[in-house]
Amino acid sequence: MVIKIRLARFGRRHAPVYNIVVAHARSAQTNRPIEVIGTYNPIPVPPADGIGKGTKHIELDTARAKYWLGTGAQPSDPAWRLLSMLGLLEPKWSIARLQSKAGKSAVKPKEPRNVEDVTKSIQGNIGIGEPGATAKEN
Amino acid sequence: MRRKLNALRKPQFRQSWSKYALYNMSRAPQPRISSQKTFFQQKWAAKAEVRQYHGEHLTNRQWQNIFRHTMKASVPMQNTRLAVDNGSEMAMGRGSGLQGDETYGRVRTVPYMSQLFWPMERRLDMAVHRAMFASSARQGRQFVVHGFVKVNGKKMVHPGYMLNPGDMFSVDQDQVLFATGKPKRSFKGAEGATETAAAEGEEKAEGEEGKDKAIAKEGETVKGTETKPEEEGAEEASSPIVSKKSSTEAETEEEIKRREAKEKLKALSEDPNNVLDITKPYATPWRPRDYMAPFAFIPRYLEVNHNTCHAVYLRHPVAKPGLAEAPSPYPEEILQMAFNWYLRRR
């Protein structure tokens, strides 16, 4: 059976906290997993001085995470996001990864938008006062 | 909510700086518990008595939950003594130290029982009051509940938060000035506060100085004494006894001290930070409220900076030989009886 790295929800209503677990794909969220390798708190701790970004805390056993990835465990999307942030995986939709999967010709990197176009569209929006109108024209 | 906090019929101690509390404290009889009663009744009476002051706004259950039967204490050690001997002399003789050694003979008792309410002093609202940021425990509680109090830089709205050693708490400056300052009477009064305050202070200074003079040299007519004829009589009756034998030097020294204090109080309004501002909820320029001095003390377990209205809870209150740090108006015997009540072995 497929082994997945995924999140298991704990905590109360409106106060979720997750275990990062390694479990069989078809076991329920509340089941006892194969292994708990970390936790993830999605509720950001506000900055001490009230300025800047809040902090989300993640605890992870990196060595075990690497081991399970090596055995072919498949991370779920949220787990993939967290692991890729640590550099254990490529981001799921990164160009490099997609190109390596489907071949170089299949995936074209998106052209960076022309700066002039952007400014024009913004000005157009301001002039008309209806967002999206100019975008359609373009 | 209790309606009559400072009823005059039966004087009670209250954790507040009001003049009613002061008057009640001035005439309250020595708290005593009749030995005619049964032990249970004595404990009950003592408990009822001490709860008039300590956490009067809390339910009994709230206090019983934080009650601890263990008291904190500390022993003052001396470098020289620690260096000279190794402690074996404490067990010499018959096992309780050398006989006839004066320094060891008079060991002052450690008033453990006076420490009964030390967990109460850990409460945030009590600490706010003890740091002289609020004029009563109830006001301290209000400041916490209304969100004016921060602990370690974070807003803490639970008055029952138990401070830990090293916690820094702070209260909004305006609220502290409101609690410790004179009340604002009216818009008009606040506007002309500088003139009236100065005039009032001068008048009072004259009056009181005159009173002192009257004690020293009788028969001088002064402005202030006309308003209080009965007091004048009392002063006259008592003055011969006081002033005759007391040395003139001490008298003048005290006079000088009082005059200096008055000048310093007047100088408060010249402080650059103490400005006239009618939007404030207290009389500006700020002056200390009346009848505050007899309640003014800051216990040693707090370190307070009134410049910014921040304070640090250094450690738990401790008992030392001859000294209990937890403030309480009750004698040790009463507190001991109350302690026995809370032990729940009744």
């Binding site: 275990n19 006892r32 708990v36 390798i37 970390g38 936790t39 970004k53 809040g54 902090t55 989300k56 805390h57 993640i58 605890e59 992870l60 640590l86 | 005059l8 020595q30 204490a73 500390s74 022993v75 003052p76 050690m77 470098n79 020289t80 620690l82 000279v84 190794n86 402690g87 006076s114 602990v151 029952g160 830990n164 820094m168 502290v176 009392a234 008592s238 006081v242 204090a261 310093k264 109080l265 408060l268 930070n273 103490n274 200390p288 009346d290 009848y291 007899p294 309640f295 003014a296 800051i298 307070v304 410049n307 910014t308 921040h310 450690r315 000294l323 403030p327 309480s328 108006p329 009750y330």
Partner: protein, 283 residues
Amino acid sequence: MFAWLSGPGAVFKQPTGEPQYISSYDRSTWERKDKTRNPDAFVQPYPFNRYFKSQPVLSDAFREDIYTRVKRDNHSIRQVSAALNVSIERVAAVVRLKQVEKEHVANGGKLCTFLTKALDQMLPVVDVPTRADGGSGSGGGGGGPFENIQELPIHSLARRQVFVPTSESREFTRADAGKEFGLPAADVMVPHPDLVTLAKERNEIIPLEERIMRQKERDRLEEIRREAEKERAAERRRQKKVLEVGRWKWCFTEAETGKVGFRYGFPLPDRKKGHVKIPTHVS
């Protein structure tokens, strides 16, 4: 009541430059007691509790002095504590409070200096010691040091009574007593054990140079210990990895499988009756 307030109670209305407690007046005649005969009455805020005393507080100048010693002269808190006879935790607190004050001023905040001045008129205040050995100046505190810095808090292990039979010929010392309670000797447990060592060396008639040498050696060891501690703290900080991605900062901490996470089969009893819901600490 108002007769009393305008009569004998009038002295309490405004601060008089020194503590004015009810106990310093006779309760029947309302005459001021003799300060030389019963000095205790002048520091006792509550007339019936003779064990609670209003102890002097540090003056603003004293606090400033402590702050400059620690911050500008770069003395350790322990040194300042020993020099000024102010307990270690109080020195640390004063430095913290002064730091807050400086930051407050730097951010354009106003200070209630007038409040401090007014309270100085009501409280017993200790001013900066004039001599180097820490004897405090005049004020409510009298001539002695501000507080005893060698105060030994009674450890909870030492609260019980123990019956230890020993032979009469044997010396039962502080170290023995400590061992019975499972604690080190009181000489080590006091806040300033180095001061005890200094006093011992003074008694042993060791030449001054030798004493200075030994003290320097001890200071060096202390410095090494502090460095190591700092390094450990830095290591702990290095364990944490903070990334800024998108809207949030993400703080990754290294964990160990088996110890991390919520455990299965163990309910979270935080909604149970009797559970403390008020936070017990604020970090």
